[in-house]
């Protein structure tokens, strides 16, 4: 039972729409959809209070599969729909579903501005390092050398690091997770949904058709421990099957060393409220470093856009009593007729 009402508790299924889900078999999107529905049920957020906004792309079909309110918009612009919705309806629980093409190519501008403004929404960026819906072209997160129909000679571009971009833009919650680690995915989505302010979650999502196995080294049993660093607040940055390696800092330079060689006091202990260290952490990318996953940064203290905006509205209303006829008259007005001028 929902403790707040007499109606039966909502289950994950209650958050699904009656529409048939039409992603390719084996697509990582299914796992994300399921976990989002599970998280909403865990948090018991009333369906009518939830809105999913999206742009264009495979991931952007997401709202159609949710039994909540939803708007499937135009390519890259989902954050912009959120401005108008949240400023007029701040009480709503708004999610933005985007991808590496939608959110980091055509819509980068809006994504960065939304994070900069710290709008109180949850952004989930499905990163599969490829354009799926248009059949496999290069994306802004594709690794150098990637061969695609639009880069038949191999990509000569460098990719974005989405979490670093989000941190720089001013996001107050930045996390990375994977479609193949359901518990981790659910934990991160729950934290993001509970965050007050702009939450940015990058999900490594496998595209089995155009970019299968792009994240295998972070998901497969043998390679995962050596390549993925799962960070936890208050715990040292250790990885490897038994935590036998660690990342530590020499000044601002990270290095990978055997954990046993580092005195406990010298370990880099993850503090998710520490923005400066979050930048260093977010930059860990290639060998010899593991790729960090988890909540890299979370700062609940920064006021949200809605809070600041409505404070202004309150101030304005204290200073001015809305009087529409007086507003229409303005400062200089006069009567004509009936000798009143």
């Amino acid at each position: 039972m929902n403790p707040l009402s007499n109606s039966p508790a909502l289950t994950a299924k209650d958050y699904a729409s009656d529409q048939e889900v039409r992603w390719c078999p084996g697509c990582g999107d299914y796992a994300i959809l399921k976990q989002v529905q599970t998280v909403l049920a865990e948090l018991q957020i009333p369906r009518e209070q939830v809105v999913f906004l999206s742009g264009i792309g495979c991931s952007s079909r997401f709202p159609y599969y949710m039994g909540t309110y939803g708007l499937h918009g135009i390519h890259g612009r989902a954050p912009a729909f959120a401005y108008g919705l949240k400023l007029t309806r701040p009480e709503l629980h708004v999610w933005i579903i985007t991808g590496d093409g939608d959110g980091l190519s055509i819509g980068t501008n809006h994504l960065l501005h939304l994070l900069r403004r710290n709008l109180d929404v949850t952004v989930v960026l499905f990163n599969n390092q490829v354009y799926g819906l248009t059949k496999g072209q290069l994306s802004p997160t594709s690794p150098p050398g990637q061969v695609t129909p639009s880069s038949p000679w191999g990509s000569v571009e460098f990719p974005f690091n989405p979490v670093l971009l989000a941190l720089s833009a001013g996001a107050t919650f930045v996390a990375r997770t994977l479609d193949r680690d359901l518990a981790h995915l659910r934990m991160v989505l729950t934290r993001a949904a509970q965050h007050r302010g702009a939450a940015f979650v990058e999900v490594y999502q496998n595209c089995p058709v155009f970019n299968d196995g792009a994240f295998a080294r972070f998901t497969e049993k043998e390679s995962k421990p050596w390549n993925a660093l799962f960070v936890e607040h208050g715990k040292p940055l250790c990885f490897g099957p038994n935590g036998e390696r660690t990342v530590r800092l020499r000044g601002t330079t990270p290095e990978v060393v055997p954990t046993e060689e580092v005195a406990p006091a010298e370990l880099w202990v993850h503090d998710e409220t520490d923005r400066a260290h979050a930048f260093l952490l977010a930059q860990l990318w290639d060998d010899p470093f593991p790729r960090p996953f988890g909540v890299l940064y979370a700062d609940p203290s920064k006021p949200t856009y809605e809070e600041l905006f409505f404070e202004q509205v309150q101030r304005a209303r204290q200073r001015t009593t809305a009087d529409l006829p007086a507003l229409l008259r303005g400062r200089n007005w006069w009567h004509i007729g009936n000798g009143e001028r």
Binding site: I56, P63, Y64
Partner: protein, 626 residues
């Protein structure tokens, strides 16, 4: 003493360097004219550059004011009085002064430096070389007169010099028999915080007035009797201000919030500035990161159950095309104001043009019809904004409002409506009847073809909408070929039904049928109305039809046009409305096209009417110097 000559109407141009306060002088004088019971129209004109070099032609700022005892619909083709504060102001505005008109020149602005910057030949000065003998020239050293009026003032020389616009204001108040009190009141409000500036400005204003009285430079004073205005409460208002008030009033009347998003662009930025100030009036404004975001944010607000509005100009309007198509597809109430300026591309950002008409009608991919409406005068922007919001909210459709730089910055008298006199606005809120088996049907249309509006937060009405073609009733994604055609037709039919509810087109002026109809839309209303009025006075067989609804076109327009042997469409583009009328009604239309970034003058339209009546062809590029 002085004789006082009555005049029916007068046009004054105040021209000076950008820093010389010409806009303020003009608007204060307009205020006294309004208080004196005159009808009026104004047109400010300032450089696109923020701080153009002082004394140069590019740095001239001017304010044109026409006021009179009859109906005033345009700021005037030419002026009766030109105030030129410097040589550059004279050079750029002399062509506006009627032969025999009064030219008041500030001698101090015609020194060697100013003459050189204005491009006059070495050692020549128009004030002394006899070249202005066609005009009644009054040369004053205003700087010197101000300096002596403020001889014992604590102000710096520079601050004293800055009051010289008040001298002009006082002098003209005397010349046009105006009391000083209303001006003094405005000055008191403006300088309430600076006692010494207030004192100086008041003193200089009075000195200007006294100078007129004692100098004997002027042959006569003038008096402009009251205009026969309808009883009511009046103010003067610019087009952009009127838009803001129109939207606020409409949202209030409909019981929804007004969400406004804008991105800075000339000449629409003023709308954003005004909206941002009015938080106390249920206005929720946002300065967006670009125009795409502005319209998408407005769509987001409309999805949330509120009125979404944005204003922009050509370049921004182009960026909004895709999102406008989405608004058509979603069927949500948003209003996009395109304050047109001369294009294409950056074009001439401060200059008016009407060249976005066909873009507003057709500038989207796919079959994407929406409502398009155009205000006729600055004050009419209120009514047009209210009407645009009403159509959007009651018909669940995006609406484009086509204003332009001429309406945006110009102002005229506005009779403030009683709120109760405005038509009610009733959005089609969703009710339990729009549900079937517990599921809300977002595309179940009413008898008008309008879909219901259910907003997030309402239990039991959860639904998804999107840019993909949707199934009738449910709104679910559908690729069914016949469903697509039905939906395309349903969206078009809704606008056809809207047309049936619009007020039938009437003749604006003149006979209901006959030789020649002059058809106008948008800001050219005033010039064309006045021109037709003049032609009717001359006994010419001509009528004026002003069209407010550009899509859908109003009922009865085709029948009216069929009653005339010839149709003339003057407009500020290469003939877009003419093209539309030809295509829509299969009538022959003469196009008078002016594309100079300038409004139409009454004289130009009179000339075009005369040529049309004489069956002279070649109307495509008929404006002078082309």
């Amino acid at each position: 003493m002085y004789s006082t000559t009555p005049r029916r109407d007068v046009t004054i141009v105040f021209a000076g360097d950008s820093g010389e306060g010409m806009q303020l002088t003009g608007s204060y004088f307009a205020h006294t004219s309004a208080l004196a019971g005159n009808d009026l129209a104004t047109l400010p004109n300032y450089p696109a550059e923020i701080r153009a070099p002082q004394g140069t032609l590019a740095g001239v700022s001017s304010f044109q004011l026409r006021f009179g005892s009859t109906e005033i619909l345009t700021p005037g083709d030419q002026c009766d009085v030109l105030v030129a504060m410097n040589a550059a102001a004279l050079k750029t505005h002399l062509h506006l002064l009627k032969r025999g008109g009064l030219l008041i020149a500030n001698e101090a602005g015609f020194d060697r430096r100013n003459l050189r910057l204005a491009g006059y030949p070495e050692n020549s000065n128009p004030l002394t070389d006899g070249s202005l003998s066609d005009y009644e020239l009054i040369t004053l050293n205003i700087s010197q007169l101000v300096a002596s009026a403020l001889a014992d003032s604590p102000l710096s020389v520079r601050e004293r010099e800055r009051t010289k616009n008040m001298f002009v204001l006082g002098l003209l108040a005397w010349l046009f028999s105006r009391p000083l009190e209303p001006l003094e009141q405005l000055i008191r409000e403006k300088f309430a915080q600076r006692a010494e500036l207030l004192e100086a400005n008041l003193r200089v204003l009075r000195a200007g007035y006294a100078f007129g009285e004692t100098s004997e430079l002027f042959a006569s004073r003038y008096e402009i009797p009251q205009a026969p205005l309808e009883p009511g409460t009046y103010r003067s208002i610019s087009g952009n201000e009127a838009l803001v008030l129109g939207f606020i009033t409409a949202a209030h009347r409909a019981g929804v919030k007004l969400f406004y998003a804008g991105y800075p662009i000339t000449p629409a930025s003023e709308v954003l500035h005004q909206m941002e100030r009015l938080l106390a009036y249920e206005v929720y404004p946002l300065q967006a990161e670009d125009e795409i975001a502005a319209l998408c944010a407005a769509i987001g607000a409309a999805f949330g159950g509120h009125l979404g509005v944005t204003a922009t100009s050509g370049p921004g309007f182009s960026l909004m095309s895709e999102a406008l198509g989405l608004a058509v597809m979603l069927e949500l109430p948003v209003v996009v104001c395109d304050i047109q300026r001369a294009g294409p591309s950056t074009g001439m950002p401060t200059k008016p043009e009407q060249a976005d008409l066909l873009q507003a009608l057709y500038g989207r991919h796919g079959e994407a019809p929406l409502a398009v409406i155009a205000p006729a005068t600055p004050a009419d922007c209120f009514t047009a904004a209210y009407e645009a919001a009403r159509i959007a909210l009651e018909w669940m459709t995006p609406v484009v409002l086509l204003s332009d730089a001429f309406l945006a910055n110009g102002s005229d008298l506005w009779r403030i409506p009683e709120l109760d006199s405005l038509p009610p606005i009733q959005p089609p809120w969703a009710t339990p009847e729009h549900r079937s088996d517990g599921t809300f049907l977002p595309y179940q249309r009413d008898e008008r073809g309008v879909r219901p509006w259910a907003v997030p937060g309402t239990p039991g009405f959860e639904h998804r909408i999107g840019g993909l073609e949707k199934e009738e009733l449910t709104g679910n994604v559908s690729y069914d070929p016949l469903n697509h055609e039905r939906m395309v037709r349903a969206r078009a039919r809704k606008l056809a039904r809207l047309a049936e509810t619009l007020p039938p087109q009437t003749i604006t002026l003149g006979p209901a049928a006959g030789e020649l109809a002059v058809v106008s839309w948008g800001s050219t209303y005033g010039s064309i109305y006045t021109a037709v009025q003049e032609c009717l006075r001359q006994g010419l067989p001509v009528a004026h039809i002003h069209v407010r609804y550009l899509h859908p076109l109003p009922p009865g327009l085709g029948e009216l046009l069929a009653g005339f042997r010839r149709i003339l469409v003057p407009e500020l583009n290469s003939g877009q409305f003419a093209h539309l009328l030809r295509a829509h009604y299969r009538v022959d239309v003469l196009s008078y096209a002016k594309i100079q970034g300038l409004p139409l003058t009454v004289n130009e339209v009179v000339g075009a009417i005369q040529r049309a009546l004489h069956n002279e062809p070649a109307f495509q590029l008929t404006s002078p110097n082309c």
